[in-house]
Amino acid sequence: MEWVVETRELSKFYNGVKAVEKLNLRIREGEIYGLLGPNGAGKTTTILMLLGLTEPTSGRALVYGYNSTTEPLKVKRITGYLPENVGFYEDLTARETLRYIARLNGIPDKESSSKIDEVLKSVGLSEVSEREVGKFSRGMTQRLGIATVLIKHPKFVILDEPTTGIDPEGASHILDLIVKMSREQNITVLLSSHLLHQVQRICDRVGIVSEGHLVGEGSIEQLGREIAGKEQTFLEVQVEELMPNIANSIRKIEGVKEVRSSGNLLSIRCDRDVRRQVSKVIVDSGTLPLQIRSRDYTLEEIYIRYFQRG
């Protein structure tokens, strides 16, 4: 199968300082892939190398089979890119901005004008299409950014931290736009972020980068299971009545690491399956377990685990 993105041992050093090292990344057609990592992990550097805007120190980056370093124009023709902290020409209106981007893509004005209306509508900027971009709010600017990506009819889209500096409602709107774009037009998306919940919400697969390395990859469930299998798991137990000594008795069970209680809910961290023993302790103490649920790892926990290891 052909990968939309494939990097082979991709490395970038700035004057000997590592930014990305031996990164092997693969993205399938049609998926939304989240590149997750703390500040300085090398996400932006990787993206710039994918677009041929920065030369790798070693290794290769391929987009739809085109080598980004030697055939950047072919890559850029099919790839839409929304840079982090994108800016626009303040004096141009939204429509003029899109027309300029269309021209840079070799699309004549006759063809672009109807496309511009369509794109402005889909990002919700139709009403302000004649307003100068300098007067746009952060959220509107970011939506215009998505419009500049859509105007060129991309097969693959790279979004570098598209929701930073945007309020939750605006961020949610942008995430919806990304999902819509991906599903309706079958566009492959690479999204870089350090905002876990957003990544968790829309990404099919996640790659976690730390200090230039890919330290984990897969769907959220896979990543969680991987950690759970190796290390720990969580139980959430709802009891009929919280007896005073229950927590202490549970702590004595072998394999239990930590117990916290709030209301009639107990959260248990353990390194093996202790459901049987826990129910027994509860029944013995004179009350009833109403519900025992092993809880999945949240992305936050996965993320923190990976960095503790890395």
């Binding site: 932006t44 710039l48 902290n85 994108v86 004096d91 021209r103 840079l104 070799g106």
Partner: protein, 315 residues
Amino acid sequence: MKVSGVFAVFWKELADNFGSRRFLILFILISLIGVFTTYLSSQAIVAKPAETPTEFLFLRLFTSQTQSLPSFVSFLGFFAPLLGIIFGFDAINSEHSRGTMSLVLSQPIFRDSLINGKFLSSLATIAITFASIILIVFGLDLRLLGILPEGPELSRLAVFFVMSIIYAGFYLSLGILFSVLFRRTTTSALTSMAVWFFFTFFLYMLANVIADYTVPITQEVTEEVILKHTRVQAMIMRFSPMTLYGESVNVVLNPSVRTLGPIFSEASEELIPAPLSLSQSLLIVWPQFVSLIALMLICFSVSYIVFMKQEIRSI
């Protein structure tokens, strides 16, 4: 595909240039100077018609100075650089600070389309500015003196036009160079202005000082010493693009000027005869003209090379 990128950048930047306030201010300033100097020199011609040769009357409007005002050409020597600098100094670094650099370069264009498009559009703006000022002078002249330039005058004007563009083009590419080298627009603006100041004012003082030092002019001075003194001075002044430009256009616009060196009274008597042809005039200032072109191209090439190798991210 390759050219379309340059064109897209070119047209956008051209619109930006003409819409910018700093351009408007400078354009008004230069036009006003053009109008004033033309008016005053035509008044002088009208007042004393006998003293002025009728040949090449139109060209005289550009080079003749009156008591109150220097000639239009020497004004241009001052202000044409500013026209180049205002378009050049923030060409590249403003794209970085605005955050539009990666937006534009992630489109399917070659990286050099951006810098080429900007350079060409600014050069075109400068050309249009000079052309419209020459036209203003045309119109004014037609009203005041009722004369129109003749064939040979037109070709000399065309050469003057090209020389002015190249002179401003040198400062344009110098500005672009600083906009590539410095990340802050204030730094590149100040540096460009400092270079302009150096070549326009400081070098003149420096030339005097050095000439006085190397060839001191004492009480019992011979003509030979004065000649040497002036030569030293002129040699140093030729490091300035303003001198190169001033000498070039003065020769091109004055068909009677046959030499660039100092002319002594006895000698100049004999030099009055027939005006030179354009190619003869050009031959005199060929080194100056070529130097100007070379300066412009060198500055632009260096900015081009540095820009092509530069990291796209500003940190």
